[in-house]
Subunit: 417 residues, 2 copies
């Protein structure tokens, strides 16, 4: 309580795939840090994530224009830049850690914010432990971010609500497009989600409006092509057109992703994860042969994480506020935590902000409760609906300039080393 605030510089490092609101988290942090000039001597952003940090590629947020910073929360993707680089364990290779502490000392960095998903919380956790062990007084805090919604302990993650709003709205539009023709056709919409079907499940919100998918396939259950074919045939016969959503991470009973199952090979990223995408395409090709009707694969691709123009205002506000909260807690001396949400009520929706130890978040994955999934790929239960609805409420306050989104444009000059 009476403890003197730790004085020094702050850095934000972003990691992993962008979302519509990761910049809102950045702005939330920058805004409050810039207001604490007596404690926070400088506010840095690492250009392109931890790899940029290791190269001392820092940008000084204090130099950015207020009017551009104010637009950040409505601007998609990571403006300061991100990376997918994974730190080794310190006992395997200490090089990166030594470099981190060297840079922290050089720039007097005392507040280290790591904004990302699962892998990022692992990195933040390792750094926090190492820096503490080395006696460099620093506050390391994780800020959650992922459209996949698969971080444990927190009720949900910033980015998920906006991606869900995009998915549900787009499925409504795609359904209306499908209904425009009285012809046999199958549209297969591929949605992000490697192991957990959180985002694909959001397509159920469209179904409940009357304009949505007929079938929803989630990675929580192994994919059986023959069962799928039979369901599609039934609906074709009944309705003439079929709209299906599938998760990119669907695996067959023998553990293969759909493109692999149908004969393609997958590229692996720096974390050893197979690069997904192409599930709808490979499934559509198989279906065309078996059905002789028009089959169209539709990948929501990176639009689902970048479509800030239809972001959820609730999500924007929370992404912003969770950073403010993390900052205040760091100022109070907390380190080694991820900030997040605990829900106290669905309706009216109420959350409180909380800290969760990084060590308990890192390398875990929050699965979609199987009991929220209706049988036979018919959608989701009311429990899921009550969970996700509050997260998509409200529309972005993004401004338009000459008919186009007026996104932030930061200078991002890398400081002299």
């Amino acid at each position: 309580m009476a403890k003197q605030n730790l004085k020094g510089a702050l850095v934000l490092v972003q990691s992993g795939g962008p979302s519509s609101v990761i910049n809102a988290s950045a702005q939330g942090l920058f805004d409050i840090a810039l207001k604490h000039k007596s404690v926070i001597t400088k506010v840095y952003g690492a250009r392109f994530g931890i790899l940029g940090f290791l190269k001392e590629d820092l940008v000084l947020i204090n130099e950015e224009k207020r009017e551009e910073l104010d637009k950040l929360q409505y601007t998609p993707s990571s403006m300061i830049g991100s990376t997918r680089y994974k730190l080794k364990q310190p006992n395997e290779d200490i090089t990166d850690y030594e470099k981190v502490i060297e840079i922290c000392k050089k720039y007097d960095i005392r507040y280290f914010f790591y904004n990302g998903g699962n892998d990022s919380m692992d990195t933040a956790n390792k750094l926090s432990q190492y820096l503490n062990d080395q006696g460099w007084e620093i506050r390391v805090m994780g800020i959650p971010k992922t459209v996949d919604n698969d971080l444990v302990l927190t009720d949900h993650t910033p980015g998920y609500g906006s991606a869900s709003k995009y998915v549900a709205s787009t499925l409504m539009e795609l359904c209306l497009d499908t209904k425009a023709y009285n012809m046999d056709q199958v549209n297969i919409v591929e949605i992000m989600g490697r192991n957990a079907g959180w985002l694909t499940a959001a397509s159920d919100l469209a179904r409940r409006t009357g304009f949505g998918p007929d079938l929803i396939y989630l990675p929580e259950y192994p994919f059986d092509y023959n069962e799928f074919l039979s369901r599609v045939k039934d609906i074709l016969q009944e309705k003439g057109s079929v709209l299906v959503t599938i998760s990119e991470g669907l695996k067959t009973t023998d553990g293969k992703y759909l493109p692999e199952y149908f004969g393609a090979s997958l590229y692996k990223d720096a974390f050893g994860h197979s690069q997904l995408g192409g599930a709808a395409n490979s499934l559509a090709n198989a279906l065309k042969k078996d059905l002789k009707v028009k089959v169209r694969p539709i990948e929501l691709n990176i639009m689902q994480r970048a479509a800030a123009h239809i972001a959820s205002f609730t999500d924007i506000k929370e992404a912003y506020a969770v950073s403010e909260f993390a900052f205040k807690e760091a100022l109070n001396g907390k380190t080694g935590y991820m900030a997040g949400f605990t829900r106290t009520c669905d309706n009216p929706y109420k959350i409180k902000y909380e800290l969760f130890p990084l060590s308990r978040v890192a390398n875990h994955e929050k699965m979609l409760p199987k009991e929220w999934i209706l049988p036979n790929h018919n959608g989701m239960t009311d429990e899921f609906y009550n969970y996700v609805m509050p997260l998509i409420q409200g529309e972005t306050k993004l401004k338009y300039k000459n008919g186009l989104p007026d996104f932030a444009n930061l200078k991002l000059n890398i400081i002299k080393k």
Copy 2:
């Protein structure tokens, strides 16, 4: 002038691919027709286009709720339904024409509105000639619609402005996503457009904001893979990441569509047009082999014609108003025309509504002026910018309900025959 208004029923038939504003044209027509009760005895919509009409699948718009009709202009796709059926020449097969006149007589249809693109204006023209030749007094009017913007005589077509706004906004978002990583990658975005690059060219609006494609490939010039590879390599070297937009209708110098060129076969629709899509995918596969970097194909797919949530308000207003205009002219005795726009000024943007003879519109295709295309796939000239900018101005007034678009929901009960 003194001529008595022709009294009878009105029918709207929609045709071809939907757009974000084809329902706005429907509402424009329905609203004004419903106000003219002393002349327009009944207002019908043909369920699923001319094929539905031939089956007497008519819905009575008079029975729809006002509050749902009011949402039509903000609802994407064709709510009454569309088709791609093409009438034969009367001298080849008279069956359909005889059926049309039979139904017109049965329901006393005196106003026949055909809403569609090139092929639709051809169908409308044939019907107009045949019905007149047979002595059935009727007013046949075409209402333009196509995201492709390839109808001749009219300055532009409803649907193009909204699709352009979607394309440009989405490219800004995709560019921000691409810029989030400091890694070698190529994103190839495939945009609709068979023979004319109108819609792909709209991605140049994103480029001009600073967040847009590096290269724009239009079908106006034959596609040369080696030239493309060389350009991509240059930009990779210079910037590390490349964002390219390509038109789905790109053809190689030997006249092949990209998927065909790279070894796939294409499905043909009822008009004998090859079903496109897959150009980015096939190009990405080739590029991956030649470059050894991450290459992502992104199809804007049917989202680009269905994303009403980011429709242009100018487009919505014009789509609505052009139907009103067509109706008034029909009431004044005009028949055999398509309503459209003549631009009188770019800035401030001014248009006047005009009629163009269907016979002069049918089966022609308005090409993008080659002189509006910058050399070396670097984008578009100021002439193009001045042409397209007015068309994307203003945002839709679509309302949200529980966080999702509140689209129209018509009953569409097919009348007893």
